[in-house]
């Protein structure tokens, strides 16, 4: 039935388009040049004015329809059914009525409830028809109104463009408001956390043991919420991954842009970008099942004690994941350096290597750094690989062979399982999230700044 409502809006809009177009032509007896706007715009104006408000109306209707039906239903309950019952109990009855109306019987319902269920179904059906009918009526009213406005001097094109402007503004607002909403909820929950744990302890504490007593009076360790070991772990793994990704990605980009024959490049470049399409969970089990055991064995062979969930295994696999990031952004940056610069360096008798080192890389450096920073913020925020391959215990160490944990891993472990949303253990996840958000935001802003600055240079 909702489909029918939307279909009728679509049909009415289409009708509006054709009628509006014909009408504008009829007004000037087919002499197009006497119209202010082209007939198409008159048609589009009518169609948009029918389509958008009516769609909004239907959406609003759908949003409120069930609460209206509910209150109507409660109003129609007989007095002895509701008397002496609290609002919640009435709600329970309502739920029972609804499930019976939907045909889910657990036992034979009382005749009163059965009646109510029938009423409910009737109401829902009625509302559906009313929806379609009112949508059509509104559309028709708008059609008549807009048609009456069409004249040879009517500025239909400006009208259409204004509406399209509005649609675009609306879309960008959705993106902005969502981000704002996320930030606000992070901040609010973090503030709740900081009211239980002082923020200097969170920022500068060296211990991360987010255990708290489950019930009152239980003998348990007091939790410690020092974020430093968690963030060192994150930075350690991210650092290792960049150590892997940056040289490999950069050299691959240099090879692809400077040395590879065009046919080989056409083959390798998509292949490299294919690497970016591998789901991180696949990298994750690759890390935990292949790389980590191999490293442990290899370490044992040369007398190194490498933990089974060492930072180096997780970091190395994450580095592989980041290669396409670095390589494709560096590739873009290097390709954007004008051929004339390379040519003139070669023309001065520099070798290809000298040209790359002295001219190409310095000129492309801002773009390359931008790419690396984007990869870094990706590495810091990456979750799946580290959840699978990194440790859970926050050790404050820079030794890549030990197990460390990361911010994302901690957030995941804090929030899975049974959690109450009023204790510092759960709330600390928001504080971690907020801090992580700030760090990656900072990196992204710097990266975008650098990339922008470099764009101005050659355009």
């Amino acid at each position: 039935m909702t489909t029918l409502a939307f279909a009728s809006i679509l049909i009415m809009s289409a009708m509006g388009y054709f009628i509006g177009r014909r009408r504008s032509l009829a007004i000037v007896n087919g002499e197009r040049y006497r119209l202010h706007s082209r007939p198409v715009y008159h048609g589009a104006f009518v169609a948009l004015w029918i389509g958008i408000p009516t769609t909004l109306f239907v959406l609003l209707w759908l949003l409120f329809q069930y609460s209206v039906i509910d209150s109507l239903l409660i109003g129609s309950m007989s007095a002895d059914l509701t008397e002496g019952r609290s609002g919640e109990q009435v709600q329970l009855i309502l739920n029972e009525v609804k499930s019976i109306a939907a045909g889910n019987f657990f036992n034979i319902p009382s005749p009163e409830i059965q009646d109510l269920a029938n009423t409910y179904n009737a109401l829902v059906a009625k509302f559906r028809w009313m929806l379609v009918a009112s949508a059509i009526v509104i559309a028709a009213a708008i059609l008549l109104f807009t048609l009456s406005r069409i004249s040879d001097s009517f500025r239909a094109r400006q009208g259409v463009e204004k509406v399209l402007d509005g649609v675009m503004i609306g879309c960008s607002l959705i993106a902005i408001l969502t981000t704002l909403g996320i930030v606000v909820s992070l901040v609010v929950e973090s503030l709740r956390f900081f009211s239980k744990v002082p923020f200097y302890e969170f920022l500068f504490g060296l211990n991360w043991e987010p255990q708290i007593p489950i019930r009152e009076g239980q003998v348990a360790a007091e939790g410690a919420f020092g974020a430093i070991p968690v963030f060192t772990g994150t930075l350690l793994i991210a650092g290792i991954s960049l150590l892997v990704a940056v040289p490999i990605g950069l050299l691959a980009a240099i090879y692809l842009t400077q040395y590879a024959k065009s046919r080989l490049r056409a083959f390798i470049k998509p292949l490299l970008e294919f690497l970016a399409g591998v789901p991180t969970v696949v990298y994750g089990f690759f890390a935990v099942l292949v790389v980590a055991p191999a490293m442990k064995e290899w370490g044992a062979g040369i007398g190194l004690d490498i933990a089974p969930n060492s930072a180096i295994a997780a970091g190395a696999v994450m580095g592989i994941m980041l290669i396409p990031f670095v390589s494709s952004l560096s590739d873009d940056a290097i390709s954007a350096v004008p051929q004339s610069l390379t040519d003139s360096s070669l023309g001065l008798g520099a070798t290809k290597g000298e040209t790359i080192l002295n001219i190409l890389l310095p000129a492309a450096l801002p773009g390359i750094i931008g790419g690396i920073l984007l990869a870094a913020s990706r590495a810091i925020g990456e979750t799946m690989i580290v959840v699978m391959a990194a440790g859970l215990i926050a050790t404050l160490t820079l030794n890549p062979f030990e197990a460390v944990t990361t911010v994302t891993v901690q957030i995941v472990t804090l929030l899975i399982g049974d959690t109450a949303f009023d204790n510092p253990k759960t709330l600390s996840a928001f504080a971690l999230g907020l801090l992580l958000f700030i760090v990656t935001l900072f990196l992204n802003v710097i990266a975008l700044r650098i990339v922008q600055k470099y764009r101005e240079k050659y355009d």
């Binding site: 065009s262 004339s340 040519d343 360096s345 070669l346 023309g347 001065l348 008798g349 000298e354």
Partner: protein
């Protein structure tokens, strides 16, 4: 491939040098440049064919280029003049789909042989491009780039000397002497192009190839560059590709006209512009084709 080709060429060169008129038919003009050089021979190109993949861009071009003179290459767009220019310092080698056959001699030595490293060749034969393209480095470093790479300066003072001299020769020194540390990209278009010329002469080349060096410049900057070319030709050979026939007429001593990948006609500039032998040259310089 005729076996006696090379000796034949030698003979021709001798003929040219001794100012003997060759009564050869016009169809062989491409193979045997018919105009005597007033100066020593710098480049001697013979039977140059250039292919981009399967497209042939140059057809059997043979051309002599004299030392201490400016040779202008003219012709409509896509006629192969830039391609020919880039054969003279093996810049076409950097394009991997590009294949060059034939022979180019520089001071009597073949450059298309395994014995010649194109990298060193390009230090001897400098190049200036259409668009002024200073490196995103300081003015000083732009000019010092070549000498540094080729180890021309033993120490810092020597390097400074080279840079200052090159800037002076390019007529740029007085304008930039107070801001050598500033980026070369901050100069005006004409200054940038003179910086590129300074950069090219800093490696002390024997010849400079210029690919439409003034097409992005205003008339005043153009006049400045043309004047500079006149000064530079005293010490080296200059080959310039240009779309401006006035420029070719103003600056060059010899002019070669290319059309559709072939060398149509080559001769003294005055003769080409006043009394061309070929109808196509006539049509081009009077603006009927191009």
């Amino acid at each position: 491939m005729e076996p006696n080709m090379s000796t034949e060429y030698l003979d021709i060169a001798n003929l040219e040098n001794s100012n003997v008129e060759q009564g050869r038919p016009r169809s062989e003009a491409a193979e045997t440049p018919d105009i005597t050089l007033d100066t020593d021979l710098k480049f001697r190109a013979r039977n140059i064919d250039v292919f981009y993949d399967t497209n042939q861009a140059l057809f059997d071009v043979s051309l002599d280029i004299g030392d201490n003179a400016i040779t202008a290459l003219i012709g409509p767009s896509g006629c192969g003049k830039t391609t020919f220019l880039r054969c003279l310092n093996r810049m076409n080698d950097v394009i991997d789909i590009c294949r060059v056959t034939g022979s180019v001699e520089l001071d009597g030595d073949e450059i298309y042989t395994d014995k010649v490293d194109p990298v060193l060749l390009r230090a001897r034969v400098g190049m200036v491009f259409q668009k002024p393209n200073p490196f995103p480095k300081s003015i000083f470093d732009n000019v010092a780039y070549g000498p540094k790479i080729h180890g021309l300066a033993a120490d810092k003072t020597e390097l400074e000397e080279i840079v200052v001299n090159s800037l002076k020769k390019a007529g740029l020194f007085d304008e930039v002497k107070d801001r050598l540390a500033e980026p070369g990209t901050g100069l005006s278009g004409g200054q940038q192009q003179r910086l590129c010329i300074a950069r090219a002469i800093a490696t002390q080349p024997e010849a400079i190839l210029m690919d439409e060096p003034c097409s992005a410049l205003d008339p005043i900057a153009t006049a400045r560059i043309e004047e500079l070319m006149g000064e530079l030709k005293e010490s080296l050979a200059i080959v310039i590709v240009t779309h401006s026939m006035q420029q070719a007429a103003r600056v060059s001593q010899r002019t070669a006209f290319f059309h559709l990948g072939t060398l149509v006609e080559c001769g003294e500039t005055e003769q080409i512009f006043t009394n061309p032998h070929d109808d196509r040259t006539q049509s081009y310089i009077t603006g009927r084709i191009g």
